[in-house]
Every structure is written in C-alpha cells, then in structure tokens.
C-alpha cells in the first residue's frame, strides 16, 4: 500500500473511532476500557513477525517476549470484558 492510501485509511478510521466511541453508552465505559486494551494488543502482529524471523536471536527473543505480554492482554482483556458484559442484565419480566 502506498502512503496516501494508508493515510486515507487512517483519516477515515479516526472519524469512525470518534463516532463509534461517542455512541458507546456510559454504562459500558468500563468494558470499553477493557476491550480497547485487548484490541490494542494487535501489535502482537509485530511481535510475531520478529519471533518468526530466523537470524537475529536478540530480535527473536524480544519478539517472543512481546508475544507473551500481548497475549496476556488479549486473553485477559477479552475474557474480563466478557465476564463484565455477562453481568449486564435487564429486569426479568414477570
């Protein structure tokens, strides 16, 4: 992808981010913080690239460490979000 395409995607993603976050109901702001935590661990992609590459052992170990940390976040973040969201219930209609 060329730079301008990436820039265009970024600019539009910022608009989407703005709107999508404002539309989150305040009652779910804590899960929002937890889930953004989880998704920002998409930098695991960078860790995987480094961990997969042969050749430079230092880079590989740094990459593996990044994968561990990001995984903690991904699994922990999604799981704790799921746990929280499971608690939000409507009044049962009797």
């Amino acid at each position: 992808m060329d730079f301008i395409s990436i820039l265009s995607i970024f600019v539009l993603a910022c608009f989407v981010g703005y709107y999508v976050v404002w539309s989150v109901t305040p009652a779910l702001h804590t899960p929002l913080m937890a889930v953004t935590n989880a998704i920002s661990s998409v930098i695991i992609v960078g860790g995987l690239i480094a961990a997969a590459a042969a050749g430079v052992p230092g880079a590989k170990w740094l990459g593996l460490a990044a994968v561990v940390l990001a995984s903690i976040n991904i699994f922990g973040g999604f799981a704790v979000t799921q746990r929280m969201l499971a608690m939000y219930k409507k009044k049962e209609r009797k």
């Binding site: 305040p26 430079v56 230092g58 999604f78 608690m87």
Partner: protein, 482 residues
Amino acid sequence: MEFALLLASGAAAVPSWVLLAYLVAGVCFILALRGLSSPESSRRGNIYGMVGMAIAVATTLATHEIAGIGEILAAIGIGAIIGLTIARRIAMTAMPQLVAAFHSLVGMAAVLVAAAAFLNPGAFGILDAGGDILAVSRIEMALGAAIGAITFSGSVIAFAKLNGNMSGAPILLPMRHVINLGTVAAIVVMTGLYAMSPAAGPGEGALFWIICAAAFAVGFLLIIPIGGADMPVVVSMLNSYSGWAAAAMGFTLGNTAMIITGALVGSSGAILSYIMCRAMNRSFISVIAGGFGQDASSGDKGPAIDRPYKAGSAEDAAFLLGQADKVIIVPGYGMAVAQAQHVLKEMTDHLKAKGVEVKFAIHPVAGRMPGHMNVLLAEANVPYDEVFELEDINSEFAQADVAFVIGANDVTNPAAKTDKSSPIYGMPVLDVEKARTTLFIKRSMGGAGYAGVENELFFRDNTMMLLADAKKMVEEIVKALD
C-alpha cells in the same frame, strides 16, 4: 514523485488476500466497539473483537516464514494462561488497577516490538536499497518505542497508586515542569537526529536506546505528581497514546488492522479523558500538570468536624426507607471500597417487596473510573434498566422520599452549583438535597471526597448521616427491614 517513493512502505509485494484479511480484522474491531452502544449487542460485539484478533494473528502467521512455531505457540500459551487466570480471579472493584496493569503490558510490548524491529529490520521490510533502515521507519520506530515506554512506566505508577502500593498523594518535584518538558524535547530532537544519522545500522544506534530510556523516565516523572484519583484520566490518556503508537506501527508495516485499531483506541482514550474532565469541570491541562487531589481515604481532616449534624442508626434508616414511596440510590467510590454492592442489591429487593419504587442514579465520574458503578451494580445483578444517568434522573429527586447516598460525596456536593470559589464549581452534580430526606453513608464526618472539599449537605436539616462502613451499615439496614 520522490516524496511519494520515500514514503512508500517497503512491503509492496503483499498479496491481496492478506490486505483484505487485515481489513476484515479492522472492521471486526470497529464492530466490537459498536456493540457497546447497548448491553444487548455488547456480547456479540466482544465476539467480533475476538474473531478480529484471531484473523490478524492467523494471517500474520500464515504469511511469514516461521523459524520455530513451537516457541511462538508456547509464548501465546503462557500469555493465555496468565491472562485468563487474571481475568477469572480479579475482583470487579479492582477494575481500575487491572486496566492500568494491562496498559503497562501494551506499552511494554510496543517497546519490545520496536526494539526487535531495530535489531532485525530486514524481517519487518523496512530496509532501503543500501541496507539501512528507512528514515520514515526510523521515526515511526523511535516514536512507537517512546510512546510505548511512557505508557509502560506511567501505567505502572498509575497501577501502584490505584492499587494502594503507593500513596495516592501527588509527589511534587521542584522544577518538574521544566524537567519534563526538557526530557520530551530531548526525545524529539534525538528522534530527528536518529532519523537523519547516515549509517545507523544495528550496531551504531545508541541513540535509539537512549530515546527508550528517556521515555521510560518521562512516563515516571509525568505521573508521580498526579494525585491518585486523577489516575483514571491519566490511564485513559495513556490508552489514547498507546493507540496512536499502534497506528504509527501500522504505518510502518502497512497494516490496516493496526491503523484502524490505533485510531479506535486513540479516539476512545481521548474521548474518555475528555468526558471525565468535563464531568469534573476541570481542564485536561490542569489534570496533567498534577498536584490536585488528596488521598481520598486518608480520613479525619477538614475543619468543621464540630458543626452539628443529625446522626442516625440503621434502624432509623430502615424505617425511613420502608415508609417511602420512591427511593433513589446514589452510589459512589465508598461503595466500591466497601464492596457493598451485593448487600445493597439485597436491600433494594427488600424494599421492592414492600412496594417501594427504587432507582439508581449514577454520576458520570462516580467511583474511580468511567462506568465503574455500573459494572459493580451489574455484578450484583441490578438490572441495567433501573440504573440511570445523571441527566435522565436528576429531575426526579424532587419527587423522591429518600435519596440514599452510599459512599458518594463530591458528586452530590451543592457547592458545585453555588460556590464559585470551590474547586469543583461548575461540575454537574446530583440534586440529592431535593429529596424529602437524604441519607449519607460514610465512615466519618472528617473524611472528605476525592476533591477534598467540605460537603455542606451533611449539616442540613433533612440530612441524616449514617456513619459506618458502607457494607456493615447496609447489612444492618437489611436486618432491620426484615
């Protein structure tokens, strides 16, 4: 155009399906946040998030030659076990700390990825024809590492303050603004030097490591002067930064999923910080400048402890509540500290059984993070359609018989409406004083709220103070209601 060539990402020969997969992952993340617009759709949203992450990871693994898949799976496995264990065990009241801790991990991971890219630029496809790291990539790498490092050390301090490992009181170094600004300026200058230095191959890049070290220091210095209760704003701000860092990495790798995520997380952190600052009627700058906020739980201070007030017992409270037609409960930070949400729910069930109408009123900054009270009430099985935002319920206090304030203080303080000299002046507050009777549960007359200001309401005629730990007090009220 040379400029265009210069900026073009190195990894040009990526097949279409890979780009498409990352786009799909990015869209999944959008849908994950979109789901949070209502509790019903939120669980599906979270699934989208997981799917998106799985797509991103699988695509990356499928498109790179992998030297040792075993190690990678082990790394993921270790992370999964730790992460799931934490997620299962953590108490809901500890959410603010947990979020800070998770942030520190993201920050550290970003530093590690940037360092790995620095050591093995070939794997990331950021080498130019001469075997040097591309200038743009150097900037992106250095910025990514710096923001990651600030996020890491800042979040560690935030965690320590929120978790009580460290006093929440601001630690004010002399000349801190000069030191901080100076260090940040130095990082920017060094990043520029690093980008322009002619032959900075893997060996010569001492500048890169200095930038990282300086950034770790900045994160530390920036956060210690900020008071414990301002930590949520700081955590959000760091969240926002880490989003922008992920986006920068996305530019380096030409990765749509990272760019979209970065923009989402960046917006989310910025907007939550903004919402908190607005609800506290403080400027973002004043939060970051630090120095505000005492330790909310330090107790016994404040001048007016000998003013007359009406104290009540659990039995008095139970009587008033049982007689009421309509009760509005206002939870605050103290409810979280005391873990009183479950017994509070029990109390509302008793009241409802007696035909009393019970509603919950949540101030946007009640507790110690946005939505904190909502999560705790949800944990205690309070249906979310009995829980109302400030704007939606504030006009109803006038028709309520009892406003039941449990561990909240600042968010009810009428000084915000009337006293121009008060530090919380202008902050929107819940009009609990309009109810026929206001009950306040707190442990002492001295303990102020986070803002450290006196609450006039404690001394009003239609206020009854219930001085005890919130959980114990509500337990006794439940007993008395039986």
